[in-house]
Subunit: 107 residues, 2 copies
């Protein structure tokens, strides 16, 4: 992923987070290109607020969204659906968790 390594800057809660946790399969099978394209595409979607992504064995990508409607629209995006259909090529395991962010703090 090409974003600078920084926590996402998000508005005051409430908003939504999608926590995508995954273990990759062996080999690339087009994964790196897809991952880059999906982050670029997500950034252009209505209601997208930010993304944080790290992989070191385990991969964790958290994307932030204005509301559930924005998440649903992204899930149904045609290019995203193509990627979802190939999940079995890229991941040995994954979990997707859709969450409502209720509180945020830090420095």
């Amino acid at each position: 992923m090409s974003q600078p390594p920084s926590p996402a800057v998000t508005p005051a809660p409430p908003y939504y987070a999608v926590i995508f946790t995954s273990i990759r399969n062996e080999g690339d099978q087009g994964y790196a290109d897809m991952a880059t394209r999906m982050v670029e595409l997500a950034r252009t979607q209505p209601g997208f607020l930010g993304v944080e992504s790290v992989r070191d064995g385990l991969g964790i990508t958290v994307s932030y969204w204005r509301d559930l409607e924005a998440i649903q629209a992204w899930k149904e995006n045609a290019f995203h659906r193509e990627a979802q259909a190939r999940a079995g090529d890229w991941y040995a395991r994954f979990r997707v968790r859709v969450c409502k962010v209720e509180r945020e703090y830090g420095f």
Copy 2:
């Protein structure tokens, strides 16, 4: 962190997630020991459900909890408070997001 790299196994939603996103300072200053101890300690807390943690420049640690009371009790844990008080020694930036997990799927 010493847990095997795998998505956490969590019960059916709803439950809670704490997304901790951070950028480290230069130097260790006791960070590695603290991080290991905090994960070990978190695992023993009532209502703890699991944890996923990756760092590669950006660090993302997601801990999962039964309810907000369990998160509050962990936040107030004496050893955890000592670590929180030293956050400025270890982190250049961090965000903590407390979230209600509403949906989960995957394979």
